[in-house]
């Protein structure tokens, strides 16, 4: 009996490896699915997660429950998820970068690593931009660094440690000095720029209305690739600063989850991410398209992201 279930699991894994989610039809949840969201109620992760859950429920007829487990940018939720018994019904949703930063900085204190989870897919990538007021005396990152050298120092608002590290990399490579002010979220960065307290800052969509009104401009893309809405603006890397961050919203389950269950849930997520309702909420929440990299793509995103985070922190 045990051997048989192992064989089935092996077969399912093989099917999964060949990209044929045939098993997806064979598995159905025996109790409600629970999506644990690593952030508080009302935020962008929460909103996207709840609409995704609605879509999954609508398309599959499954019962989907959403719970918030805020703390440490998702670290608290992934910590408790990694300690739960494998139940094939509990899914975690979080953002890559905060988890990766904690894994690099104090991985020895965390009860999980990247292999503690089976990845199901992604829902969106938040595009991170360095923005400045429209009347700032520079238009790109190179110009900004030159201006900082000329002025002696230049105040810049950041939201999280990876952005501080990116600015440190820019300082190190150019000798320019930046006054780094840590803001609580993108809205506060915008506030500091508009108030003239800082000259530039990082934002992930909060600056959109100001691009439209012509009060702000994009200085550089902080992602690996250029921004979808500003294809002419170079990235940090293209501007000679070898650093980037990518913030990807992803879903994962405990490792050792029944492959049939993981495949079925991943397929359900994929179908839901392609729906118009999810596309709309993602567009509204992160100003970007809904993108599912799939189970393997999500895992690779985390593995590459960890390497990138390690590189950022080594410097």
């Amino acid at each position: 009996m045990k051997l048989k279930s192992k064989l089935v699991a092996l077969g399912a894994a093989a099917l999964l490896a060949f990209g044929a989610p045939a098993t997806a039809q064979d598995w159905g949840p025996s109790e409600p699915l629970t999506i644990l969201i690593g952030f508080g109620a009302g935020g962008s992760t929460d909103t996207m997660g709840r609409v995704l859950a609605d879509q999954i429920a609508e398309q599959t007829g499954w019962n989907v429950v959403v719970e918030n487990r805020p703390g440490g940018g998702g670290v608290a939720m992934f910590t408790s998820l990694s300690q739960m018994p494998v139940d094939n019904h509990t899914i975690g949703m979080g953002v890559g970068i905060p988890v990766l930063v904690q894994l690099v900085e104090r991985g020895d204190q965390l009860p999980f690593d990247l292999d503690s989870f089976d990845y199901l897919g992604t829902i969106a990538t938040a595009e991170l931009a360095l923005v400045a007021s429209a009347d700032a005396p520079f238009d790109d990152l190179e110009g900004m660094i030159a201006y900082a050298q000329e002025q002696g120092t230049l105040p810049v608002a950041t939201m999280a440690p990876p952005q501080v590290l990116m600015m440190n990399a820019a300082q190190r490579e150019s000798g320019a000095e930046f006054n780094l002010v840590t803001a609580e979220g993108g809205a506060e960065v915008i506030q500091l720029i508009l108030g003239g307290q800082v000259l530039a800052g990082f934002a992930s969509g909060e600056h959109f209305p100001y691009l439209e009104s012509g009060d702000m401009k994009v200085i550089a893309s902080a992602n690996a690739n250029r921004l979808s809405y500003a294809p002419d603006t170079p990235t940090f890397i293209e501007s000679g600063v070898d650093a980037y961050v990518d913030a990807v919203f992803f879903l994962a389950m405990r490792d050792g989850t029944d492959p049939a269950a993981a495949a079925a849930i991943a397929a359900a997520i994929d179908a839901a991410v392609q729906s118009e309702a999810v596309a709309e909420i993602v567009r509204n929440a992160v100003q970007g398209p809904a993108v599912n990299l799939g189970p393997e793509g999500a895992r690779m995103m985390m593995v590459n992201g960890l390497e990138n985070a390690q590189r950022l922190f080594q410097n």
């Binding site: 508080g40 009302g42 909103t47 608290a76 840590t182 307290q197 209305p209």
Partner: protein
């Protein structure tokens, strides 16, 4: 400038039965969750947001604003009737509200709270509707350096409420600050005082701490006091005097300066992101007490005290929408939730909102005014019901309040962890009370600590690490001078008029008990 026809169309949109119904529903729900200890408007809004996805945008946002407004009215009810404020901003209302309720005037006290709340709210709504754009530009000029100075000023004013012992007040504040340091530091996000519990990374949840200290500890303490004398109600019996059941026009009018001061303070602090309604309520209370000819009557059931706190904390709500609508910057947790509701409906608050969504914005303004009227009417009815509910035997009231606190905190903090924190702080609250330390001072420090620390770190970065360069900001300098003056003033008053006897949740009700 928005066209007049757009403004009128916006106001007209409010008067669809659907929108009116949702505003009413929001106000009723808000008053209910505000009045039930343990659940608050923040949680109700957070839970409701995903459900508004299918609604018409105006109905959805008006509904959420209704919950928020109703919640502030409702929040005063348990603070006054049972001395168990569910949120820190209602803690100031309990200072004078609860003594009044014990004197057999619960309806009078809650009505005054309702009237003050609606007055303050309407004042700030009018400011929002008329002059939000220039105010928002002014608020932007208040950078981290000025905010730090403003918070120091707020602390200096609130220190006038330190209670009987200055040293005990300072110790309570220091303890509150210490607990506010738990979790990631605001600058480099290094975990502090977490002892391996990642649930603490974002700090101790305010809901757990506030409800544990203010509500649970109070209920437990009262249960020990009434041990063995079952069956009595929480409130003194109605003495039948109709004067004690209503707020006369003369009484309301005598509070006009207090209301205006509270509403102005609340509007100013609400327009500045991050300081919030608790500081507004306490600053308004402290300044009202300082300006009064009879400061000793505060904390013993002075109706001015209720007027001061409720007008201020409700004025913050309307004013919070000033930076939110014009700049897209949320000034509080509830404002952040309203932004996410806007975003769900595909709108981003910001400089173009009035142009692109003028009709919706003016619809929202209309809805806010309607919500204030509904708040008044629903409140008039609701207060009577709550006073009736609280006249049930203590055994029923306390057990159901405890149950609600547990359920509410479990929901707000997502599980058992938050309840454990709540119980730890309930125990700490009982200890602090027995030794005469003010829990309210503790909570204010705990609440404002993180914001102060963040602004201080930002200010230091902007000033190149040299605080002496604060002279580059005249506003900050002026606020610091004002703080020094106010501290000296309070200290000199203190020494002149012996000790301050405001019962800041410290030996509460004891003065009254002795009289009975």
């Amino acid at each position: 400038m928005v066209d007049l026809s757009v403004i009128l169309a916006g106001f007209g949109d409010v008067f669809t039965p659907m929108t009116l119904l949702f505003i009413l529903f929001g106000v009723v729900l808000g008053q209910f969750v505000g009045a039930v200890p343990g659940i608050g408007p923040v949680m109700a809004m957070a839970i409701a947001i995903p459900f508004t996805f299918g609604l018409d945008p105006l109905a959805a946002i008006a509904f959420l604003v209704g919950v928020n407004k109703g919640g502030l009215v409702g929040g005063a009810v348990p603070a006054i009737l049972m001395n168990t404020p569910g949120t820190p901003d209602a803690a100031a209302t309990a200072l004078d509200g609860y003594p009044l309720a014990r004197q057999g005037k619960p309806i009078k006290a809650t009505k005054m709270a309702l009237f003050s709340s609606v007055s303050g709210d309407t004042f700030s709504d009018i400011v929002l509707i008329t002059v939000s754009a220039p105010l928002a530009i002014l608020a932007l000029k208040m950078g981290p350096v000025e905010i730090v100075a403003l918070m120091i000023f707020a602390f200096s004013v609130i220190s006038g409420l330190m209670g009987e012992s200055l040293i005990k007040g300072v110790i309570a504040a220091a303890l509150g600050l210490m607990f506010s340091f738990v979790g990631a530091d605001p600058e480099s996000f290094t975990p502090r005082l977490m002892f391996g519990y990642w649930d603490l990374y974002d700090g101790l949840a305010l809901t757990s701490v506030a409800i544990g200290m203010l509500a649970i500890s109070e209920i437990l303490r009262r249960m020990t006091e009434s041990f063995g004398q079952a069956g009595q109600g929480v409130l003194a019996p109605d003495n039948g005097n109709p004067e004690d059941r209503r707020v006369s026009w003369a009484e309301f009018w005598s509070c006009r300066f207090t209301l205006l001061r509270g509403a102005t303070l609340g509007t100013i602090l609400g327009a500045l992101p991050g300081i919030g309604s608790t500081a507004a309520a306490f600053m308004s209370y402290a300044t009202t007490k300082a300006a009064s000819k009879d400061p000793d009557s505060f904390g013993r059931g002075n109706i001015q005290g209720i007027a001061a706190t409720e007008s201020a904390n409700s004025a913050v709500v309307g004013a919070n929408l000033i930076p939110l609508l014009t700049l897209g910057i949320p000034g509080s947790v509830t404002a952040a939730l309203i932004i996410s509701a806007f975003m769900i409906h595909g709108m981003q608050p910001g400089p173009l909102l009035f142009e692109t969504q003028g009709r919706l914005v003016y619809g929202l303004f209309g809805a806010m005014i309607i919500a204030n009227f509904l708040n008044l009417w629903v409140g008039q009815l609701g207060l009577r019901i709550w006073v009736k509910v609280v006249s049930a035997p203590e055994s029923v009231i306390f057990s159901s309040a405890l149950l609600l606190c547990f359920v509410g905190v479990a929901m707000a903090t997502n599980g058992i962890f938050g309840i454990v924190i709540m119980l730890i702080f309930a125990a700490l609250g009982i200890l602090m009370h027995s030794f005469g330390y003010s829990m309210v001072i503790f909570i204010i420090a705990f609440f404002l600590g993180p914001q102060f620390e963040k602004s201080l770190a930002q200010a230091l970065a902007l000033l190149d690490g040299n605080l002496l360069r604060i002279y580059t900001s005249p506003v900050a300098l002026a606020l610091l001078v004002l703080s020094v003056i106010s501290v000296f003033w309070f200290v000199s008053r203190r020494t002149n008029a012996k000790a301050d006897t405001t019962n800041l949740g410290v030996p509460d009700g004891e003065v009254l008990d002795q009289k009975r």
